[in-house]
Symmetry: none
Subunit: 214 residues, 4 copies
DNA sequence: TATGAATGAGGTTTCATTCAT
DNA sequence: CATGAATGAAACCTCATTCAT
């Protein structure tokens, strides 16, 4: 959509001599991701990006339409990734509770693995053009819908309580997940997988049916 | 600290005729809060703020040191409010589970009541000067600590499980709360109090002890 | 001219309780002199001056017409002082060479004694209003004329050479004197009087007649 | 250092058609020099500079980091020029008295030839950033040292008196030189070379040894 | 494919001064 | 005499983007 490549892979093959390691657009995206997460989109200048990527401004504008376009690409990448993981898990076999637990833990791990993406995506929506914002919101809604459908499935089967509407459960859980980027630190005592397990446990426990509630 | 007034109230008395309703610094803060929430701190110009507050730029800089200072004040206000509400609830009488539930529901309601503040405070931390960021983080930590101490109290009493460390529980819950501003809409079907009740319920249920887990 | 006093002394008597030590206008001038010398006229704000003098802005504008007015007063004070010292020396008895030597040494000492004044007056002329600039230049010319007349007197008597025109001699010497403020430091090895003596010696030696030149 | 050019000459070659005469950065420096000398650094706005140079503000900031940077460049240019001239003269053959006389006269001529530079450099030091100030002072000290070494050489040979320390002699003389810009006017009766000759004569005469002093 | 000079609008902030009280 | 809120013009600087080469 934004990256103008000339093959069909979505990413041009690494050809030029100047980047033994990575293609120019890939380097630009990687650098932009880091800088946007560190300093925020508006505080990061195109100049800084191209300097950090060791690329000229002209080159950047060759591959991307605008600075906004970089942000758009980052959002697209995040959404694509999360959606594909959830889809994969959702269509697996097995009890719905297990699939929900797996999905809940997985999104935590993948969020932590791409913490810069998470930082950006929860903080920069309003910096996209309104039209793009709508697209992102729509895609996010589709994601939530998919997750919600799993919760509803569990509720219908009676393995999950319906004391709390599934909508609320989903927003509740993804709020927690999105906020990982505000407190998670790689030096912490817990590994991403452990955190994922705890988060999933909290969700599953909250959904346990028939509690002799107080 | 930031608002340069010369009485002791923190806000000058309303005296001039031109603002029957509100003092100049108060108007500026109110307008800035709305605009920062709508468009983000960096996208809001001082020009827009003073125009919306019907004040001259000079007047704004008479009361506030800088645009940053406005943001700092907003953070201070939010933290002051949340902390005072939690302190109040924490020191009430009654079973710890009830106090946690009350605190959990209350923070949801007060977050929704000040949704612009919530939007700003979860999105704009990095726009504060590093020193101020640290202060905000410290105050936020004290808040979390207080909440955590309630959870730990319940765990020690055996009314809450300790399957998940109290730290994680707290971060988990406040992630959800902070993210209310990304999806809550006044036109929605649920009232703030209903949402608060659901959120508190999810937390309390997740903390129920002795689950015959799976 | 600028200080609005109500007696006739040029400086109001110290009356108010708030300044046991010095009158308000005097304090303002003293502070302004120090700050103008330290940071330059344009870099010193009225706010800084009144803060350092512990006086309100209103009070300053009560005593002085403007910030420019402070500078004008400083110039007036310097010129008044130097002129009176030179006049005093010029009309003393004794050989002209002695009077020139005395005047030359004296201006060095008095320049060092008021080093801030010297700093300001050699650096800030262009910050006065054109009309005031002319006045200062005129007064300075009168000063130079008086000094020059002594040199010419010596040349006419044959005690000074006239190899170099008296004009040039005077500009030459006062260039040196005015520049004292760029290198003199109170911690230096030489006292003001020693420097004065050396400077006077250099002038007098340069004026010695009948050199078997080279 | 300051001018961002990408060749190695320090000044880009004149290529574009719109400035047949001079490159953009050169024009900016020339205009800034004139304006800083006329009105002072702080009184000259960037707007005035770019208007006079017929350049946009953006273009100026493309070549110079800041307004300060322009001033820094001017200082660098002055110091470079003066130092190279003195070095050249100092290492010539011939009696030391002749070399001193030549250097003394030459600095006068070159100061007058670049009178705007002189005006700026003696008045604007405090407008540089402290770090740059130190650099300028250091370079100026090296210059003085070189001159002083010539004076000392003469004193050691006995062709100059040592009644006055060489330090003082040097500060004395360069005070006079720097102040040329406060009184020299092209319409005056004397040519730069004549003034240079007179100044050098005054210095040399002051240094004549063995005066039957008074 | 890539360069880098140039644009020009808009950003935040400073500050001498006034004036009602 | 003194206050301090308010003014408004002007200051320096940034930056995404374009375009001739």
């Amino acid at each position: 959509m934004a990256v103008r490549t000339h093959g069909g892979t979505g990413m041009p093959a690494v050809t030029s001599a100047e980047s033994a390691e990575s293609s120019v657009p890939r380097r630009l995206l990687a650098v932009a991701t880091r800088l946007f997460a560190e300093k925020g989109f508006d505080r990061t200048s195109v100049q800084e990006i191209v300097a950090a990527a060791d690329v000229t401004k002209g080159a950047m504008y060759h591959y991307f339409d605008s600075k906004d376009d970089l942000l758009t690409e980052i959002y697209a990448r995040v959404l694509r990734l999360q959606m594909s993981r959830l889809t994969e898990i959702a269509r697996q076999e097995g009890p719905v509770a297990e699939r929900v637990e797996r999905a809940a833990a997985d999104v935590v791990v993948s969020t932590i693995d791409n913490l810069d993406d998470a930082t950006i995506s929860f903080r920069s929506l309003h910096q996209l053009r309104p039209e793009k914002q709508r697209e992102v919101r729509d895609e996010r809604r589709r994601y939530h819908e998919l997750f919600r459908s799993l919760v509803v499935e569990g509720q219908n089967q009676g393995v999950f309580t319906d004391r709390v509407p599934a909508d609320i459960v989903v927003d509740f859980y993804f709020g927690s997940v999105h906020h990982l980027s505000t407190w998670y630190h790689p030096d912490g005592a817990l590994s991403p997988r452990e955190i994922g397990a705890y988060y999933a446990r909290l969700l599953l426990d909250a959904l346990r049916p028939a509690p002799a509630h107080r």
